[in-house]
């Protein structure tokens, strides 16, 4: 059995977080999404893995090189669609194979359910089916796939995980895999619909918070680095090498902290928080339910709740993220979702900035004690 992981797409609905990396490389609980997919395959003994890369491919390749498993990489030159991506891997396929998106979480049990099947797809229930391919099933077989419908007939959606025989390539007429499935169904092929055990996607940036808290359940406790004796820890806490945690800091797991960070003294880190590498939390700062990527600096006396911070943000003292819900237009769709802030890479904020249900683009600069709300374009200077 082989597996093809599709990791070429940008994931544009997750902008501004996908400036320097594709969606599959976004860190969740300090590991890129694609690593969870690879883990699930390896747990099922599937070691012949091909990864299709495209958007910001160097970042993906560098990461794959670090893994123990030998992984074949193929390049999709232009990101035309999933079927086009699969065609890029055609020359590597000699056997029955699985196709998986590299940017969704899937557990090993789900893969165990589909790996013995030929021509099957994993399906799952989702409260907002309109963002996915909705699957109509009869007698355990796929009857129809409706891509991103306005009014979905069911809550059953495709996970984008399929089991195919090599002859699937003759059905790839368009650039999308669901079209090939429709063609297979039309020609009388049976495609089994198998319910996934645990599958999660992050469609919008704030979905990463849910995925993050889900993945944090699986971290292993480990304390490397230098942790002051007065630090209070509870629950599962992972602290990477070279990280210093100063006196009187309180950490309630599940929390993961990367390497070479500088935390505290007197910081509070509450559950469901991931902190990347080389992050600085200055004294008296509180962080909860957040995903802080690498190289971020958060000033003293800040309160960070329900926030996703991209790489290299520098936020001065008294920064607040204030969770609330308002309407935001993302990818042509108006959404209402409660979260504090989503900041792209390299956002800078002056002291006393409050982010309220805000998505700030890459390199946004916010000057002097502002409350910022809603969507801010890349590179904007807020005065």
């Amino acid at each position: 059995m082989q597996a093809v992981i599709l990791a070429a797409g940008e994931g544009s609905r997750l902008r501004p977080l996908t400036r320097s990396k594709p969606k599959a490389m976004l860190p969740v609980a300090n590991r890129p999404l694609i690593e969870y997919v690879i883990d699930a395959l390896l747990e099922n003994g599937i070691r012949d893995i091909v990864v299709v890369v495209g958007y910001r491919k160097e970042d993906v390749i560098r990461h794959l090189n670090k893994l123990d498993a030998p992984i074949q990489v193929v390049v999709q030159e232009r990101q035309l669609g999933t079927a086009d991506a699969l065609r890029a891997a055609e020359s590597e396929i000699t056997d029955d194979f699985l196709v998986l998106p590299g940017d969704n979480y899937i557990n090993a049990e789900s893969i165990a359910r589909i790996r013995k099947e030929q021509n099957a797809m994993l399906v799952a229930e989702h409260p907002n089916p309109s963002n996915f391919g909705v699957v109509v099933i009869r007698n355990g077989l796929v009857r129809e796939i409706i891509e991103k419908p306005e009014d979905a007939p069911t809550f059953t959606v495709s996970t984008g995980i399929y089991s195919f025989k090599p002859d699937v390539f003759s059905y790839l007429q368009t650039n999308e895999i669901p079209d090939a499935l429709s063609a297979m169904i039309a020609s009388g092929r049976r495609i089994r619909a198998i319910p996934a055990d645990d599958w999660q996607d992050a469609v919008y940036p704030w979905d990463l918070l849910k995925l993050n808290s889900r993945m944090l359940k699986g971290i292993t406790p480990e304390i490397a680095g230098t942790v002051d004796a007065s630090v209070i820890r509870r629950g599962t806490v992972h602290i990477g090498t070279g990280t210093t945690v100063g006196p009187n800091t309180v950490i309630y797991g599940p929390v993961t902290i990367g390497s070479n960070c500088n935390i505290g003294p007197n910081c509070v880190i509450m559950p469901d928080t991931s902190i990347g590498d080389r992050v600085v939390l200055e004294p008296f700062t509180y962080v909860a339910d957040s995903l802080v990527m690498s190289d971020v600096t958060i000033g003293s006396h800040s309160r960070i709740v329900s926030a996703v911070f991209g790489q290299g943000c520098i936020l001065a003292d008294h920064t607040t993220t204030y969770p609330s819900a308002s309407f935001i237009e993302v990818g042509g769709r108006v959404q209402k979702e409660e979260f504090g802030a989503v900041l792209g890479d390299g956002v800078r904020a002056a002291p006393f900035t409050t982010f309220k249900n805000c998505i700030a683009g890459n390199r946004v600069t916010i000057e002097g004690g502002k409350t910022v709300v809603g969507l801010i374009e890349d590179g904007t200077r807020v005065m």
Binding site: R19, S20, V51, V53, R56, K57, E58, D59, V60, I61, R62, L64, N65, K66, I71, Q72, V73, G242, N260, R278, D295, Q311, G312, G346
Partner: protein, 579 residues
């Protein structure tokens, strides 16, 4: 300037030797060969790349063997001149890295005594000399031979049917890798990383007698203990993975290697040495010379220390009067010219500091102190991540002399390097790949950046490129400007911005297409040039880095567009271990 490798143990030697030679190919790749102890000495050697000729080596038997990859110095690259070299009776085989300076005299004497030579190499004298002294004891025969040799050498010798390798070094590098009932030997530690992390750096004059279970090191006839050092480089460094070339992989590793070098900091002894220096002389070759020049501009303008930069190859023969700290900059730590210069500085009683990527390399043994850069293994012949890591080490010295004024800038610089890697340079590549000549110009620290940009361009794309201080262009090279000679100009805000902009206009007036590197958002500059490549608008130190990386990308993609062998450019080897 070749690579040698040896294996003795329980495994089949040939695949290990071939793999090891591939890792050493950066030291030379004219021809290669291996010899094993099978039923007798079995030899296979071939002109050309290892990947093209390795299949023929598959019939070699035995668990003991030696191998060599060559960069020709004595005798043209062909099958006969390739190592290993055997004696008249083909009972002894030798591989050698270095130069035997008195070989013609030795060869005449040996021929006079009836020895038949097959090759034009200096190395063959060693196998015949060992033959003369051999009576069943290889170690004794090698020991009797070494005093006759003048020059530099790292030698591995095998004989007859004995499971034994004798290794010797003098002024050429040789490293032993200690495994479990197996021992490896190589010119540097890169071939060993896959098998063991325990290495022994042999010293000049050492002779090692190696059997599968045991090794003994002798120095001046006495048994000596050499410490086993643990190497923390990972095998990942040796894998190209999904990248098209090692060079591209290494370009993308720069944010990490820069950060690691900054993070490693400077130890107290080096700190003291730097703080006490009244003036600094840097000795370097090639790319390292450019980093040294960039350091000169930065150190003189930011912390007012007088800095002199000398080419290693000139320094040895035309030594200037020396005062103050002497810093040798060499990625490999084995660059022959730099080593010679360092020895010269030591003999003048100057405090010496080595900046190198290779723990345990020759420069680290000679210099009083070492500042190690953390680039990890660099395989591409064109220096990329070692260049920025050298800058990291040198910028730390600047920072130290400025009392830590740039701490914050240096610890965040890797993010700006990451940013410039996202830059699309395709338009500029289209222009350069059609050109016969490309000029690179800049002022201040961007002058060495331009020289480095030009070096990268010519060494991997074979497009003729020259780097000039922008003001110098009018003193001659201007005559060469036409509509078909692109000029790459670095023009960033600062005292030279205005004069640089008017230089660019002068070039435009001669119809030369101009590719400008300027800070993001500089619309004025973008308007007067043909192609504008924005670099992040940050501190000067960081601009030096990002501009350099942008030029690496330009050279790399131009070479790819011209379908050059990026990782192994013609006629070049990574470390230049001959003068």
């Amino acid at each position: 300037m070749c690579g040698i490798v040896g294996y003795i143990g329980r495994r089949d030697a040939t695949p290990i030797l071939i793999q090891g030679l591939k890792r050493l190919e950066y030291r030379g790749y004219d021809s290669f060969g291996i010899a094993t102890v099978g039923s007798a000495i079995e030899v296979y050697k071939k002109t050309g790349r290892i990947s093209e000729g390795e299949a023929g080596a598959a019939d070699l038997h035995g668990c003991t063997g030696i191998g060599h990859t060559r960069w020709a110095t004595h005798g043209e690259p062909n099958d006969i001149n390739a190592h290993p070299h055997t004696d008249c009776g083909e009972g002894i085989a030798v591989v050698h890295n270095g130069v035997i300076e008195n070989y013609s005299e030795l060869k005449r004497q040996l021929q006079g005594r009836g020895h038949t030579f097959r090759s034009e190499t200096d190395t063959e004298v060693i196998s015949h000399l060992i033959e003369e002294n051999y009576d069943g004891d290889l170690l004794a025969a090698v020991n009797a031979t070494l005093p006759l040799l003048e020059g530099s050498y790292a030698i591995l010798a095998i004989a007859g049917e004995t499971q034994q390798i004798v290794a010797a070094r003098d002024a050429s590098p040789l490293v032993l890798g200690v495994g479990d009932a197996e021992v490896f030997a190589a010119s540097d530690m890169t071939p060993l990383l896959e098998y063991t992390e325990r290495v022994i750096f042999l010293e000049d004059g050492d002779v090692a007698d190696i059997t599968p279970d045991h090794y003994t090191i002798y120095h001046d006839g006495q048994t000596v203990e050499r410490p086993i050092e643990l190497i923390n480089w990972c095998v990942e460094d040796t894998r190209k993975g999904g990248f098209a070339h090692y060079m591209l992989k290494e370009i993308y590793e720069q944010p990490q290697s820069f950060y690691e070098t900054i993070r490693a900091g400077i130890n107290d002894r080096v700190r003291q040495m730097v703080m006490e220096a009244g003036e600094i002389t840097l000795v370097a070759c090639g790319t390292s010379y450019h980093t040294a020049l960039a350091f000169k501009y930065l150190a003189e303008s930011l912390c007012s220390i007088p800095v002199r930069v000398e080419l290693g190859s000139e320094f040895k023969y035309f030594t200037p009067p020396l005062r103050g700290l002497v810093i040798a900059v060499s990625q490999s730590g084995e660059t022959a010219d730099t080593i010679a210069a360092l020895k010269m500085a030591k003999s003048r009683n100057c405090p010496t500091l080595a900046i190198t990527n290779m723990q345990g390399s020759t420069v680290t043994r000679i210099a009083d102190e070492t500042l190690l850069m953390r680039a990890g293994l660099e395989i591409g012949v064109a220096a990329t991540k070692s260049y920025t890591a050298q800058l990291a080490a040198l910028m730390q010295i600047v920072n130290l002399r400025c009392e830590g004024a740039f701490d914050d800038i240096l610890s965040h610089a890797h993010l700006a390097i990451g940013d410039i890697l996202l830059q699309d340079v395709r338009e500029a590549v289209a222009l350069c790949s059609k050109a016969e000549h490309v000029f690179f110009v800049g002022r201040g620290p961007f002058y060495p950046v331009s020289m480095e940009g030009a070096l990268k361009m010519k060494e991997i794309s074979y497009v003729h490129a020259e780097g000039y201080a922008a003001g110098e262009l009018k003193h001659g090279p201007f005559a060469l400007l036409t509509g078909e000679t692109p000029v790459v100009a670095v023009c960033t805000p600062g005292p030279t911005y205005g004069v640089m902009a008017s230089n660019i206009k002068e070039m435009k007036a001669r119809k030369a297409p101009v590719i400008a590197l300027g800070v993001a958002g500089d619309t004025e500059l973008a308007e007067i040039v043909d192609i504008f490549i924005p670099i992040p608008n940050t501190h000067l130190l960081v601009q030096v880095l990002t501009a350099s990386v942008a030029l690496q990308l330009l050279a790399y993609h131009t070479a790819c567009a011209l379908q050059r062998d990026v990782d192994k450019p013609r006629n070049l080897a990574k470390s230049v271990t001959v003068e």
